[in-house]
Symmetry: C5
Subunit: 357 residues, 5 copies
């Protein structure tokens, strides 16, 4: 949670367009990979110097520059300047607490997404982690900036390398679509894991409504708030892309974006469904506790109601008055025992009638 | 519930347009039925080979190809290619976790619906099951893809065979309307069953507010969340068809679609009503539990308040002090008994005044 | 409630435009009344045969055909066909589970309303009953179809007969407005009755928060859900009429419809207000129960806390040890009694300080 | 509350435009005041006969006819007819249960507002009372109809008399704005009083969460529902006036109306804030009750857990078996007392560890 | 809270445009600072007399007049008149209870913002304090009116003095943007502080669910209501500025405003997230209390259920009947002790099975 409130205090008071990295502290080197391809050829390499990026600026082929690590603002700045990117965009790339958004700068489109990764250990307290992906899509080039290395884009790289599907035959907008699609597709396993945890939790809740179970429900609820915050604005972003608001994205790609849009809506619906189910589970939890308390109270009441009056009877015959004729009757003792037993039995019958037992 | 989270993990990372069946595993053969009719003639047969579909592509009569079973993507692909359907549409047909939607591809309209079937045994834990129906409506043809064989379309087939109503005199758009109408009409018995279960549940709840009853309420709530997810987007789909967004649907059919739209809105309203009533029932349940606990507490308190003080009195006269003058009085014992009885009676009167009895 | 879920199962699978009566079973004969009037003349009679309706089709005067009872579809069909009404409209007239709606068929407007009647015995369990009123308003004629005979339209008939107000001087649209106005005006007494019941209920709740009171609240909540379902879509219907969406309604009548629209909004607001107040009353109910339980617990705790320790003291001096010096002291007994009394008094003081008494 | 449900039953069935007073029964005479002014001159007088109103119909100066008391429909009718007001407007003026609205009749604008007055005694059960103010604003005249005499308009009268501000230099629309402004400004003291009551209530709630406090919260909640109903539609009314929907209101007055609009939004926000705070207070109340019950239960449990076992011990040594060796030991009695004391102390330590004490 | 209800009672009844200071009473002198700069030159000084403001009215350079303290209306009036500001704007500047808004007066734009300051002592009961900032942005000048001296604008002043960033090269609209940006940036530390307090509170809640913790939650909830009220309308204000609704703001500045808009949306989302988490925490709190009560009840019930029946047994053998054969058996006493012990052990086993221990 600390994460979700770590919003840019370092930035306060600086002029706009100043590049300050905001996010987790990192020390790894920044890794740059360049794919340059058209239908017939493919160059893939990791440049040692940022300068080489400029070579691809005006090439007719599609250029994808993938930057992993935005904690060194000067690297981001150099690449971005080479493609003529507005300083505010550069600032948002390194300031990794943006919400998903899409900004159209005529010559290029700036898109911010959230990549989600579920924690390695499913039972850990880590919760779901989120990472900012910034895409700058221009005519003939795509710049992508990630925070950490992940394998989300591996299938896309694979398709480019092996020329699978239409990716090599189409432009930068289709590449951008493929990357967005990969990110959105990646939400589904996370939701599926949440769905499975939900079912486990539900079984646990019915078997043993412990405080831990209720805390897990709240933890999941909070995860869902977090997820929704990451996915909700995406719906609008992709809808605007699919509606062809930017000229960078061609009409034939818009059909594919409509597909991603459907997926995003589906993700949002699943999140809302999980939230509603979680609320229902909390209600189950509370009503189960109330029920249990009721059961406990009934046991207490039955015991007290049967035995306290009998104890009074025993107490009465334990009094030391000189003149208590019953005490000297031959069958006084068995009579009292009999009376006590029958009183208890009558009580039990009464409780059964009231459906307490 | 497992169902509602089984969204397409097999798909992650594949290029768009790759046909992978997502849904329950099935092994039955795929069954294809072809209806080809105009006002005067009707051909109905089950082709042994998919090739025969192409014969009807350009015929002036209305062709309805009904495919039951989408778990063999190659069959879907062959039929779809024969009618020139976009790969993304083919992908959505076999990927049976789509939400209801409508996509206009100029030459044809792609419509996804959910067919709902209530479980065979009304008391089972199965809940309501949902199946994807994909309709591709073009000029002169309708392709329908279902997951399992159902009898929802039997009345439509019957009307075609017996030339009942206007169906034989009108085009493919009217056939599509008839199929959609059949699906939506089928929601009503399910809602009616839910309504009846609701009434049973309510009676049960008032008679005996058990934990099982509260769990059934939650089960129904979840069913309604599921139902709403299936029906809610349909409203928009049919509204767009009825507004004539696609040229495939003629104005005279739009009037009929407006009628289906009304039914859909009615279904949604019923679902919302059931949801509100279920929420009210949960409140009843919780307040009944509170009330019962109150009753139990009152019984306990009355018993304890009457007998514990009397037990003290008995205890006092059971003490073994040498000098306790009361013990030697001739009428000490009856006096104490009388005191105890009157104290108890006074207590009872006090409780009655406080309306506890 | 059975009512609200009885939606058209008889209809499933029939071709559209098939007239099947859906609603409560009835056996009374259908009663038809015809009013034909202009500023100077008025014919009012109950035709023995449906044929006579056609006489008024093309008359320049205003014709109002009021049909009570739609359980004989053939009668509805004959009249409707005579005025050239679309089969789907005829179907909706006899299928009395429509939600309020307005459909414009250029030559006529089809309007569905709900007439509400409160039960005869205010304390009965019947709840509010609803009946479908279908209006078909054309140039020069109004067809109205009700389920049962009611006196809602009596004032309108009266105004026609006695030529009160402008009704005789204006067209069919004004007549339609008058009928709609009569229906909407009739909602107010029902709301008023609900308001009065609410106040009674509130007094009862504060005096004695019984389970019955909470069930009455829930019953009223459900009535309000039902009411809202009947009135909510009406707002849109009348708004569209008042905006002049149909050419059947003239601009001068639109001003009057705006007035009805205001009333409808007012009805909806009252319903929402009653719902909010009912929710507040449930909260009062639950907090009162909690409070009472608290009171009961306090009494129990005070009694137990005072008497259980004293009982121990009495028990101790009831032990039969040989060597218990206190037993033989001359003032042992009064000393113990004094000790017990003062312990009890100290306890009471302590409780008073804690504000428990 | 009776008020908010007293909607027009007297009206049901009457032709539209029939003037029937709906509202509290009144017997006071109707009081009419006429202001006729331009920048240089001012006539102010109370006409003895309604006829005199017509003198000012076509005067170039601004005429304000203020009518206090609408329970005599004939007076309203006469004045309104003199200015050519539509019968439906006249009906709404005397029918004092309208919601705030604005209707544009080209030649004049009809505006309905609610004037609120807080009860004289702040602790009374009266709640906030509401009164209908109808304004008819034409070119050169303003007719205002109030139910009872109030001092809300005194500052406006004062400004006219003393020619303060611009009021004498501007037209009827500015006068109408001044009256609306006076009404809206008057909402603030009511909200302020509510805010103060809220703070008192909160202190009371924390000090002593009694049933009375919870009932006061619910009373305030209901007041807020009532207030919102009166103010919410006003927002739309003034927004439409400020947007220049009517030609009666000039652009220079629109700037002032924008100011009133801001105030209205502020009033609505305050009401919503108070509602949210009240909901929070109810939650505090309920959790405080739960907490107190918890405290009570702990005391009971501690007492019972310590003394009930010790009572058993005393009971055991009070048994009358012949062979109970402990009874004859010299130090049996002190040993038992020691045992009891230490058992009690151990219990107390245990409870302290569990943080119950 | 007193603050949020202190809305302008002093104003009621005055003509519009009358300048009356509404807000906290202050006595400090008003401090005016003037910055006049273009790319090459900068004049910064505090004028002793308000007259000097007029010198800068028509200068081609950018003039920023910063006024701290609006409790002396005459100072505000003099400055505003010098720049030709509408009286209603002047009124809103001194009436410091406005909600954030933006009004376009063609020649200048009037913007109201809320500056928030968290209290100095984080544990104090002060809550967050809010101060009104009024900006009047014209062609070539910016007038800013604050209530108290703060250091929010220091970075902006610094950038002007040191000519950092583009601020000196751009116009008054960019200066206005910088000031708005500084205010919005300042919201983040406040949210961050709230986030940290939330985490502390959560730990405290789980460790010890005291009444204080629940009151702190409610305090934070109220703070969030307050915050939302201050920030929510800002979203609309900045959105309208960024959409270029006013001609004062150039297109190149609009890009920067879009950035501020994103921040505002982020602030609102954070507030909503905190509110949802607080609601979840209240639920945790209540369910923890229920759970604890359950635990307490179990202990009580176990103790009572084990010891009360045994006490009855002891009581029976403490009765003084003459003929009680067990009393004279040699092994009666140990037999009873054995019976009691085994009964207790059986009870314990039973409770363990029911999972109560």
């Amino acid at each position: 949670m600390a994460r979700s409130f770590g919003i840019g205090t370092k930035k306060v008071g600086l002029p706009p367009g100043t590049l300050v990295h905001v996010g987790e502290e990192r020390t790894e080197p920044v890794r740059i990979t360049i794919f340059d391809y058209d239908e017939d050829s493919l160059h893939e390499f990791c440049p040692t110097s940022v300068d080489r990026c400029s070579d691809f600026r005006d090439s007719p082929s599609v250029t994808w520059i993938d930057v992993v690590g935005v904690h060194r603002p000067e690297v981001v700045e150099e690449i971005a300047n080479c493609f003529g990117i507005h300083p505010l965009v550069q600032e948002d790339v390194v300031h990794t607490e943006q919400r998903p958004k899409m900004e159209d700068y005529d010559d290029y489109v700036f898109i911010v997404l959230k990549m989600l990764t579920s924690p390695d250990e499913p039972d850990g307290d880590d919760g779901i982690r989120s990472e900012q992906l910034s895409l700058i899509v221009g005519r003939g080039f795509v710049l992508s900036f990630q925070e950490t290395e992940g394998d989300v884009f591996d299938p896309v790289r694979d398709r480019i390398r092996k020329s699978k599907g239409k990716i090599r035959r189409r432009g930068a907008d289709y590449l951008a679509y493929s990357l967005i699609d990969a990110v959105v597709d990646n939400y589904f396993p996370i939701l599926e894991a949440a769905g499975e945890e939900l079912e486990l939790l539900e079984d646990e809740l019915l078997a043993n409504p412990s405080t831990e179970a209720s805390q897990k429900i709240h933890q999941m609820k909070r995860d869902m708030i977090f997820l929704r915050k990451s996915v909700w604005p995406l719906r609008d972003v992709i809808s605007r892309l699919a509606r062809g608001e930017s000229e960078i994205f061609s009409d034939s790609t818009a059909i594919y974006l409509r597909d991603v849009y459907d997926h995003t809506v589906q993700v949002i619906e699943e999140i809302e469904t999980i939230r509603e189910i979680l609320s229902g589970m909390l209600e189950i939890y509370l009503s189960t506790i109330s029920n249990r308390m009721n059961e406990v109270m009934k046991v207490l009441t039955i015991i007290a109601t049967i035995f306290i009056p009998l104890t009074l009877v025993a107490g009465i015959y334990g009094m030391n008055f000189d003149y208590m004729p019953e005490l000297h009757w031959r069958y006084g003792y068995p009579a009292v025992l009999l009376f006590m037993t029958s009183a208890g039995v009558i009580m039990l019958i009464y409780f059964r009638r009231r459906r307490w037992i």
